[in-house]
């Protein structure tokens, strides 16, 4: 079985660019990334695309397909009607390098600002004891493959790039929540979450949760609990008074 797909792919660099149309043979079971590769192999060997595993595990091939943020390797072509035009565009929130490749270095810079995991001492027998039920939430967060689609759709920075210096974004709220809930960790990162990471900017529209290919409940399980902890610490009048009187 083979059909022809009408692909419209963004081609260009940081300065200029335009849509380019390609008619491509598609075989049964193929994903959008297969079709991009076919374009490279047959028509446009210089078509820039970032990818690694082609199995939904590395989070490299993020793009906007018919306007929806998705992994190209996990988007089956049969999701679309035969003959339908399929547009593939780079993620909008990041500066464009070329074609479908964007500069995601913002995320690597933010990662450096989050204080490292700092475990408590081991038990007397040399082990760390943690119960499975106490780490399941953390394990959910650690499913993150850093595709940065949550960062890409978050309108705090998508529509307002000027917020980037003050807003770490959903991926890093997940990271902060993970560390906050880690049974062994002793570091305090709530001031960072409030002040530098700007968790208060999030107004819980759940756009991030909707696009997460790992189905992490970013808003409900990470951001809201993080907001609650920040609120408990900084906006609870009794705690506030206590901190003024007793310095904690």
């Amino acid at each position: 079985m083979s059909e022809t797909a009408n692909m419209r792919v963004f081609r260009g660099d940081g300065e200029s660019g335009d849509w380019q149309d390609y008619s491509v043979e598609v075989e049964e079971g193929q994903v959008v990334l297969d079709v991009i590769h076919r374009i490279q192999a047959t028509e446009a060997p210089d078509l820039a695309v970032r990818w690694n595993c082609k199995a939904g595990k590395c989070g490299s091939c993020s793009a906007e397909i018919n306007g929806e943020p998705r992994l190209m390797c996990m988007t089956r072509m049969n999701l679309y009607e035969p003959g339908e035009q399929i547009t593939v565009a780079p993620m909008k929130t990041w500066p464009l390098i070329r074609d479908l490749v964007t500069d995601v270095s913002f995320n690597y810079e933010v990662a450096k600002t989050i204080p490292a995991f700092k475990p408590r001492p081991r038990e007397a027998d040399g082990t760390y004891r943690m119960m499975q039920e106490d780490i399941e939430r953390g394990q959910e967060f650690r499913k993150c493959i850093e595709c940065f689609l949550c960062q890409n759709v978050c309108h705090v920075i998508r529509d307002h790039p000027e917020n980037k210096p003050e807003f770490a974004g959903p991926r890093f709220f997940v990271r902060l929540a993970e560390l906050e809930m880690h049974p062994l960790d002793t570091e305090d990162r709530l001031e960072l979450a409030r002040q530098d990471a700007g968790v208060g900017y999030c107004n819980i529209t759940k756009c991030c949760t909707e696009v997460c290919p790992e189905e992490i409940h970013i808003t409900d399980n990470a951001i809201i609990p993080l907001k609650e902890r920040v609120a408990d610490r900084y906006f609870d009048p009794i705690r506030w008074l206590g901190s003024k009187l007793f310095g904690r």
Binding site: G29, P45, N52, K54, C58, I97, P119, M130, M131, I135
Partner: protein
């Protein structure tokens, strides 16, 4: 005179999977100014795809387990071709490295008393794999990445090394380019660690990601280092077979470790028909015993579904050839009838997700279709077990690109532990070596000019054949003629064809700009792919026996007297041609030999 960025370091680490990250962490911790250079973004390396777990004799589930048992399993799994000292260090140090990962933030699944849980895997006598569901590689790489970020390591992302530089006999750095711009970098380094992974992209059906083009193997070879065991290639028994576009994607051995079983089109559990003499004493020969083994390992022997990977892959190959395959040319892997939906989704979440999304198969109610896929190369750069030093001064290697640890066949779970055990040792060895160097190296401009001219030459040949067809032809040749079952006439034909591809690659053309140009990148990667393919084809022709991941139709079965104590060695001769020789295996001390006398 070409223009380039210049960077001076004590240690450069090429590759940022588990081994490279762990090497960089160690070198940096020892006070070396360290750079980590990776072809992709940080955290995307192939390690991320490892699923089932990391093998370490922690003894949390079976207190009978210890390093000696792990060592013995590893050597037997490798059909005794392993470097015994590497296998010993690996078994002894893996528990410390797993505990270290936990100390750096990894969240492994837990036992009922709160310790690290361990799961069953092929060839391991006891449940030994620490794991996080079926995404253990992601946990490992993220933990190392998050730890490394705070250790003052300079990371060069999307930066590809094209050649190593030499100062006399010694490796003195590397020439690289930024993918993003095509601009050049020259690294001057007192010592260099290669941690570039494997060679899977030389094959048509593979579980490996695009980066696996044998870069480290080839860089070392071109710099004068020796490669060993390049004929030993692991075909993982269970890759996806349908739909065609996902053919080769890995299905974790954890499916069988957690109770899944292989069946043919008659519904028969065929692995009982393929128990080799070598493993007969420790393998269940009835369905009752095999199924009871999951719960009671003391009174039952292991299910043949969990024989080492080479055995299972050959068995599947035979079933399909005999006409008892599944509709799309594999066999059935069934966990749906054997475990509850809840259990499957908890233990194997990414397998559930992968089959649901890519194949429209619900693994909690339907059998998977699976078949062999090129997964791992046991062969690699010859290294000293203790220091990870290669045969060239100043050059170190760890992880999949290093040879010796796994012999002729790697056990599942032994790769992640290999990465952290020998990644650490390579970082240590390289840092100590760098500290002992009196002066910093200085790149030789003539060498740089020559390397850069070769890198850019494809742009001068606009209109010539592009790289994609050459890679596809090479992949088909390796798959069809140097694949799971080999024979002399086909191996010779493969070498002839590879010669032809080398000619085509020498005149390959690319067009366009230097900025993130995948055609150009592939044209450069082709050089390494062709070198490692030639090494595998030649070594495979020389070893006239079947052992582990190397199976010869014309020499079925092992020949211990002739080949059981030899490595096949590859090096570049003075005339630039590839030389193939053999050398004796290092001899195992008597106290370790006793472990094999039962």
């Amino acid at each position: 005179m070409v223009e380039y960025e210049r960077h001076d370091y004590d240690v450069i680490v090429i590759g940022a999977g588990g081994a490279g990250l762990r090497a960089a962490i160690e070198a940096s911790a020892r006070g070396a100014r360290t750079a980590l250079i990776c072809k992709s973004l940080l955290g995307k390396a192939h390690t991320v795809m490892a699923e089932g777990g990391i093998a370490a004799a922690l003894g949390n589930v079976w207190p009978q387990d210890n390093w000696q048992v792990h060592f013995r399993d590893t050597m037997r799994g490798g059909k005794m071709l392993n470097n015994w000292r590497m296998a010993q260090l690996h078994a002894q140090e893996a528990p410390d490295r797993v505990n270290e990962l936990e100390e750096w933030g990894a969240l492994f699944d837990r036992t009922n008393d709160g310790r690290i849980l361990q799961r069953d895997f092929g060839g391991h006598r006891y449940a030994r794999l620490a794991h996080v569901g079926d995404r253990t590689g992601l946990e490992l790489i993220r933990t190392l990445q998050q730890h490394a970020v705070h250790n003052g390591i300079d990371v060069f992302m999307e930066c590809t090394v094209s050649r190593l530089l030499k100062d006399g006999d010694r490796v003195s750095g590397a020439v690289a380019y930024w993918r993003e711009s095509g601009n050049l970098l020259v690294f001057n380094a007192k010592s260099t660690v290669l941690a570039t992974g494997g060679t899977g992209k030389a094959f048509a059906v593979t579980s490996n990601s695009w980066e696996y083009t044998g870069d480290g193997h080839a860089l070392a070879y071109w710099a004068g280092a020796e490669l060993i065991d390049m004929e030993c290639v692991q075909f993982h028994p269970t890759g996806m077979v349908w739909p065609p576009s996902v053919r080769g994607i890995l299905v974790t051995e954890g499916v069988r470790g957690d109770g899944g079983t292989l069946r043919n089109s008659d519904g028969e559990r065929f692995m009982f028909n393929y128990i080799p003499e070598f493993f007969a004493a420790e393998t269940a020969d009835s369905i009752e015993e095999a199924d009871a083994w999951y719960e009671d390992k003391v009174n039952n022997r292991r299910t043949p579904d969990l024989l080492p990977r080479d055995e299972v892959a050959r068995a599947i190959n035979s079933e399909v050839k005999a006409g008892r395959g599944s509709p799309h040319g594999g066999v059935f892997l069934d966990i749906a009838t054997r475990r509850s939906t809840e259990y499957i989704r908890r233990r194997l979440p990414s397998m559930y997700h992968q089959f649901k999304q890519l194949a429209d198969v619900d693994i909690t109610s339907q059998a998977m279709e699976v078949g062999p896929t090129m997964h791992y190369i046991m062969g690699g750069i010859r290294v000293d077990a203790d220091t990870a030093a290669t045969t060239v001064p100043g050059l170190y290697a760890a992880g999949e690109c290093a040879g010796g640890m796994h012999g002729a066949n790697r056990l599942g779970g032994n790769s992640l532990s290999d990465l952290v055990v020998f990644g650490r040792r390579a970082g240590l060895g390289a840092a100590e070596d760098a500290a002992a160097q009196a002066s910093a190296p200085e790149a030789d401009d003539a060498q740089v000019e020559e390397i850069v001219a070769a890198m850019r030459a494809p742009f001068e040949r606009d209109g010539a054949e592009g790289p994609y067809d050459i890679q596809r032809d090479l992949q088909d040749t390796m798959h069809n003629l140097v694949g799971i079952i080999r024979t002399e006439s086909e191996l010779i034909e493969a070498q002839e064809r590879i010669e032809g591809y080398k000619g085509r690659a020498a005149s390959v053309g690319v067009y366009g700009h230097q900025q993130y140009n995948p055609g150009w990148h592939l044209a450069i990667d082709l050089q390494a792919l062709l070198t490692v393919s030639e090494a595998t084809a030649r070594a495979a022709n020389v070893r006239q026996e079947s052992r582990g991941g190397h199976t010869r139709d014309d020499y079925p079965g092992p020949n211990d007297a002739e080949w059981g104590n030899k490595n096949v060695v590859i090096r570049q001769g003075a005339d630039g041609e590839m030389e193939v020789t053999t050398s004796p295996l290092p001899e195992m001390p008597a106290d370790l030999q006793e472990l094999f006398e039962e």
